[in-house]
Chain length 356, copies 2
C-alpha cells in the first residue's frame, strides 16, 4: 500500500508533520456534527493544521451517507476555494471517511485525503484500504471508488467516550481479520474483551495495529478487489443482507453487529461446504452470542435476505451469490458460489446457534 | 497507457473481438438519444455484442451532462443487473463518454469501459486519456475521476452525418495536439480542411491517428495531471472561460470553437511572455478567424472571464491562474502563473486579431 499507517495517540503532532511533508497545501477538514462537537475542540488545540483549516460539517449517521450530503461537501469545497492540490482531512467514523473520501476522490477529479478515524470501526476498517462510497437507491455503498488516502492516523484516545455498542461494532472487524490470519491471532482476540471490565485504550492499540496490518497486507496484494481482497468480504455478504433487512424494517443495526452475525453465518457455510473445524465454529459463535445481540428473523425473511445477497456488489456473475469462506482459520477460499438451499440451511443453523 | 487505441472503420468487428478478449462479460451500452437513433441501428447490425446488450439511453447535450443523468444511469445499471465484472460500452460523443465513464467508474466502485466515439471531438479528445466527469453547480467537469477505459475504437465512418460545426469543433483539439508536437504536424493540419471541399473520412483517419498518439504519449507520462499532462490544457483555461460565459448568457458555444479561440489567446500570451514566434501566431490566428466564428465579448466581460479562469480545476494555488504556454511549437511550458493585467492585454490583442 502507498497509504501510510500511523499508530499513535499524539494525533495532532502526527497530522501537522504529515501536512508539512506534503508541502503545506491548503487543508479542508470534514467532520460530522458529533465529531465536530466532541473531537474537533481537542484536535484544534493539538494541531495547527486543524485549527487553521476551514471545516465542512455533515450530518451524522449511515442514513446520511448519501448523494445529498456529497453534494453539500462538493459545494462547500468549491466555495472555500479548494483545488486539486488541496488536502481533505476526514475526522470521524466510517460515514465521514467513506463519504468524505468519495467527495474528495471526485471533486475536480480527485484531491488527496488524510483520515483521522474517531471510532474503532473506522480505525480498523473504513479508514484503511481506499474504499470510498455512499448508499444509493436503497443499496449500501452502491456508488464509490477505490482511492487510497495518503495516510490514516490511527489512535485509541478518542474511543474512551464511545458507547460500548460502537466498540463492539469495531471489534467485529478485528475478529474478521483474526479469522483471516491464524489461530494465535484469533485466540488473542477471543480472550480479550473490548468492554469488560472497562475499555482500555493502551491494551487495545497493539491489537488494532496487528489486525490492521492483516488488512493492509491483503489490500496491498489486490487493491481493486479482483481476487485476494475478497478475503475481507468474510461475513459481509450475510452481514450486508442483515443490514439491508434492518434498514427496510426501519430499525438499523450497527454495521459491526451485522458483521459479527454474518461471520457466524459464513463459518457455518464454511463448515458445511469446506469442513471448517466445528470446535472453532462453536467457540466463535459462543463469543458472538455472549457479546453481540443476535439479529432476529424467521424463515419468512429468507427470500428477502437472499435477494439482498444476490445484489451484493462483489458478485461478478449476475444471479449468483459469491461468498468468501474458510477451509480453516487463515485458509481463505474466495468466490464460493453457493446454491440458495445451502444458504437457507446455514441460516437455519445460525438461528439455532444464536438461539433465535 | 493501458488503454488500447484501435483505429478502424470496422467498428462492430473490433468491438466483438475486444469483448471476447475480455472473456465475454455482460455488456451494457450507453448512448444518447441521437446516437441511439443514428448510430445504434448500424452498430447492432455490425456487432453481436451491441445487438444483444441492454441499452441505457440518456438525454443529449452538455446541459444534460449532470448528476440527474448520472443517477438515471446508475439506476438503470442496477435494474439491468450490472455487476463490477460487467463492461459498459459508451457509444457517443464527449457527453456520453464523460458521463458514461463517470457512472461506470463509480458504480459499485468501478466497472470496465470501452468507448466508441461517434464525433470527431470525442475521437480525438474525450474518449482517450481517462478523464471522466460531469458539470456541477454551474461549473464544467467539476466532478469526475481519472479512470482509464479498457479501449477506444476510433473510426471516421460515423462522422459523415455530422454537421460542419461538429467537425470543426473536433478539429480544434487536433490543432492543439499539433501545436504541442512540431511544425510539420502543424503545417499538415493548417493545410488541410476538415470541411472543404467536402468531408473525407479516408484522408482524416491518418491525421486523427497521429494527433491522438500525441495525446496518448502525454497522458502516459502523467496520468493524473501532476505535471506534463497539463500540456493538454493548452487553450483550455481561456476556452473554458468562454464556454462558461456563453453558458451564463444562455447561448452555449461548441467546446471546440471555444478551444480554437482559447488557443489563440494562449498563443498571444505565449508571444508576450515567452517570445512565441509572431509569424506562427498570425498564421494560426488567421486559420481560426477563417474557419471558426470569433467569440464575441467586450472589456466589460473581463472580470467575469478572469473569475472563470481562477476557478479552473487545474489551478493548484488558490487565487492564481496557471496557464499552459508555448515558447515555440512543441516547446511546452506548464504552470505559467500570470498576472490579471497580462491576461487583460492578451484579451485586447485577441479581440484585435479576431476583428471583434
Amino acid at each position: 500500500m502507498n497509504q501510510k499507517l500511523i499508530f499513535t495517540n499524539l494525533v495532532g503532532e502526527a497530522l501537522d508533520t504529515l501536512v508539512a511533508d506534503l508541502g503545506n497545501p491548503p487543508v479542508y477538514v470534514i467532520a460530522d456534527v458529533n465529531t465536530n462537537q466532541c473531537v474537533m475542540p481537542v484536535l484544534m488545540e493539538q494541531s495547527q493544521t486543524v485549527a487553521r483549516a476551514p471545516k465542512i460539517i455533515i450530518k451524522a449517521g449511515d442514513m446520511n451517507k448519501n448523494l445529498d450530503n456529497v453534494q453539500s461537501v462538493w459545494k462547500a469545497l468549491h466555495d472555500a476555494g479548494a483545488t486539486r492540490g488541496s488536502v481533505v482531512v476526514n475526522v470521524g467514523g466510517g460515514v465521514v471517511t467513506d463519504l468524505g473520501g468519495f467527495a474528495a476522490a471526485t471533486f475536480k477529479r480527485g484531491m488527496r485525503v488524510i483520515n483521522v478515524p474517531t471510532t474503532l470501526l473506522g480505525a480498523v476498517d473504513a479508514s484503511v484500504g481506499g474504499k470510498t462510497g455512499i448508499n444509493f437507491n436503497g443499496y449500501k455503498n452502491e456508488i464509490g471508488t477505490f482511492t487510497e488516502p495518503e495516510a490514516s492516523i490511527i489512535s485509541t484516545g478518542f474511543f474512551v467516550t464511545l458507547p460500548q455498542q460502537e466498540l463492539l461494532s469495531g471489534y467485529a472487524e478485528m475478529l474478521k481479520h483474526a479469522l483471516l490470519e491464524n489461530r494465535e491471532e484469533l485466540s488473542r482476540l477471543l480472550n480479550y474483551s473490548v468492554v469488560y471490565p472497562i475499555f482500555n485504550p493502551d491494551t487495545l492499540l497493539p491489537l488494532i495495529e496487528s489486525t490492521v496490518q492483516v488488512k493492509s497486507r491483503i489490500v496491498e496484494a489486490d487493491f481493486r478487489e479482483a481476487g485476494a481482497r475478497k478475503a475481507l468480504n468474510l461475513g459481509h455478504t450475510a452481514g450486508h443482507a442483515f443490514e439491508s433487512l434492518a434498514l427496510r424494517r426501519q430499525s438499523p443495526v450497527a454495521h459491526g453487529f451485522a458483521v459479527a452475525q454474518g461471520l457466524v453465518v459464513s463459518l457455518v457455510l464454511s463448515h458445511i461446504k469446506l469442513g471448517f473445524p466445528s470446535d472453532v465454529l462453536h467457540t466463535f459463535a459462543g463469543y458472538v452470542r455472549t457479546n453481540y445481540n443476535a439479529f432476529s428473523f424467521t424463515c419468512d425473511d429468507y427470500p428477502e435476505l437472499l435477494r439482498y445477497m444476490a445484489a451484493d456488489k462483489k458478485n461478478t456473475e449476475p444471479g449468483k451469490v459469491a461468498f468468501t469462506l474458510l477451509a480453516d482459520v487463515g485458509d481463505v477460499r474466495i468466490d464460493q458460489q453457493l446454491a440458495d438451499d445451502d444458504i437457507k440451511s446455514a441460516l437455519d443453523i445460525y438461528r439455532d446457534l444464536m438461539g433465535i
